[in-house]
């Protein structure tokens, strides 16, 4: 009788030991990977000009960048201004019409503290773009008003954001799209527009 | 024996704990629903009498019916408030509605209707009920306001309903 008792206690102890060590090991591994990831950020993926970038919600292609003094509408601003214009192609891969692309592309430059949001124009009729429909790829022009006190760039780096779909979010269990860091960085040479070709 | 007892106690505790968890989770919603369902106190005023409400003495001056199109009419409601407590009046936000006999709620129009400007130019100049109307109101001085509504020609038994959330929990109704 006492022999049986002792073996049972030993068995229980073993189980506790195994689960305890396993749990501790799991926690340690997860903590260590988190620390490692924070210490060694993954270098941004660079994409080439004209290459389709899959950002989850959108398929983005970045084409040419130009500096010009006239916005795509063709009306010359009252005060002389410089505009950085980037031709892009966008394909909405989600199920609904969306204007979330307006927060997708940003100038990646440490010196530009807060690069203002670009204005998007539709390339086909040079009018301000609204939301983009699914299954209808569109060509757009992103236009940044370039600060007067900064020299005009010869090169520009654009950071393309990423969004992922969650069928159930952590708060309500509602389906939605969420920002998920950077999909790619595109470096472009900026050509100068003499202004005579565009009217 | 003792293991069996623990089992039954746990099962019984579950029977109590589960509904309790539901109630605790839904408590805020239940209270909100109750608050929404309870009728706000209404002060009904008839025959152009004055009435104290939301830090002022209110009075309906006139309710005119003006032509618009074949099936629509413009209702021009003119009312006044003399502040007795300007601090309370300037706290709230005025909300005016017109209710007809079928309970349909009409919101005031934001642009003055041409017919009002044409027939009653001095009324068209009056401020609408809002914070602006009471910014430089003094105790005792009356503030005259006007609101216009667009209603179907067959709308009957119209009453003006003034709410003042922030200053009063009650609703003032002019008949």
């Amino acid at each position: 009788m006492p022999v049986v008792q002792r073996s049972k206690i030993r068995q229980r102890l073993l189980i506790m030991l195994v689960t305890g060590i396993g749990g501790m090991a799991a926690a340690a591994v997860s903590f260590a990977t988190a620390v490692y990831d924070a210490a060694n950020p993954v270098p941004a993926v660079t994409a080439a000009k004209g290459e389709a970038i899959d950002t989850g919600r959108w398929r983005v292609t970045i084409n040419d960048a130009t500096m010009a003094s006239v916005p795509p509408t063709g009306t010359k601003p009252f005060e002389p201004k410089r505009f950085l214009m980037v031709d892009i192609e966008l394909d909405n891969r989600s199920v609904t019409t969306s204007n979330a692309f307006m927060n997708l592309i940003a100038i990646k430059d440490e010196r530009v503290i807060a690069s203002p949001k670009p204005v998007y124009y539709l390339a086909r009729d040079k009018w301000i773009a609204s939301a983009i429909n699914p299954n209808m790829p569109e060509k757009l022009i992103a236009v940044w008003e370039w600060p007067a006190d900064r020299p005009e760039p010869e090169k520009v780096s654009l950071s393309i954001g990423k969004q992922i779909y969650k069928p159930r979010d952590n708060l309500y269990g509602a389906p939605n799209w969420f920002d998920d860091g950077e999909a790619a960085v595109v470096e472009l040479a900026v050509t100068q527009d003499t202004g005579s070709s565009e009217q | 024996m003792s293991e069996k007892r623990t089992f039954w106690i746990c099962l019984l505790a579950l029977v109590v704990a589960l509904p309790l968890a539901f109630v605790v989770r839904a408590w805020e919603s239940l209270r909100e629903g109750h608050w929404l369902a309870t009728q706000k106190a209404e002060i009904v005023v008839e025959d152009g009498a004055g009435q104290a409400f939301a830090g002022g003495q209110w009075k309906l001056l006139d309710m005119r019916r003006l032509p618009r199109t074949n099936d629509a009419r413009v209702i021009l409601a003119e009312f006044e408030a003399s502040p007795t407590d300007p601090a309370v009046l300037s706290q709230g936000a005025c909300r005016v509605r017109l209710i007809d006999s079928e309970g349909r709620r009409f919101e005031p129009v934001t642009l003055t209707e041409p017919i009002v400007r044409e027939m009653y130019p001095e009324v068209a100049e009056r401020p609408r009920c809002g914070v602006l109307a009471f910014t430089d109101a003094k105790t005792g001085a009356t503030v005259r306001m006007a609101e216009s509504f667009i209603v179907p020609a067959e709308a009957r038994d119209l009453s003006l309903r003034i709410e003042f959330p922030g200053a009063s929990d009650e609703t003032l109704i002019f008949k």
Binding site: R124, N133, M136, G173 | D71
Partner: protein, 196 residues
């Protein structure tokens, strides 16, 4: 034997939990608007408002004439233009949400490119009991017209409110016009629509 039984039991429990998890409707489904079905050419009623679509046009291009100037709106697909009438029933309101649900499940929102078109649905204030003619326009790929449904609701963010689901039925246009011109109407109608 008992170990096998325990294993079988836990496997069936996991299977049952998985089935429950995957069959539970999501938050989006639970709070989705309640569909009220109808067709083009009839008045479709909800508790708060009624809407009827009368004419449906397809066009490659829309020209909007306002104050003597013509603005052309192109599209990479086609324009679907719907003329109809809407009326509020209980209170003053604006119908701010209109979508085209294509047969493959994609949703196309009402085009936001027009700002000066008279009678455009989201800009039209509806007084109870006073029907107003309204205009809707969508940019769609050509294949999305067939088997599509027009969805009209008071607001996109109102859970458990009613939403009208209107099918084209036999009113689906057979031809796509090269261009449709919308101009301000002179008397009675807020706009005139001319197809070319």
């Amino acid at each position: 034997m008992s170990a096998l039984r325990a294993l079988l039991l836990s496997v069936s429990a996991i299977a049952a939990l998985y089935a429950m998890r995957s069959s539970t409707p999501g938050y989006g489904d639970i709070t989705a608007p309640i569909a009220v079905r109808g067709a083009v050419g009839e008045r479709v009623e909800s508790r708060d408002f009624a809407f009827g679509a009368a004419n449906v046009h397809l066009a490659r291009q829309v020209r909007v004439e306002s104050f003597g100037r013509i603005k052309e709106y192109s599209t990479s697909g086609i324009w679907l233009i719907i003329e109809g009438a809407a009326v509020a029933k209980t209170e003053t309101m604006t119908l701010t949400s209109a979508e085209w649900l294509a047969g493959n499940g994609l949703r196309y929102e009402l085009s936001q490119r027009f700002s000066t078109v008279p009678g455009y649905l989201p800009t039209e204030r509806l007084e109870p009991g006073l029907p107003r003619p309204v205009l809707l326009a969508f940019e769609l790929p050509e294949a999305a017209v067939d088997k599509g449904t027009l969805l009209v609701a008071r607001s996109l963010v109102m859970p458990l409110a009613e939403e009208l689901w209107i099918t084209l039925g036999d009113k689906q246009p057979t031809d796509i016009k090269p261009s449709v011109t919308i101009a301000r109407g002179s008397s009675g109608t807020p706009w005139t629509l001319a197809a070319r």
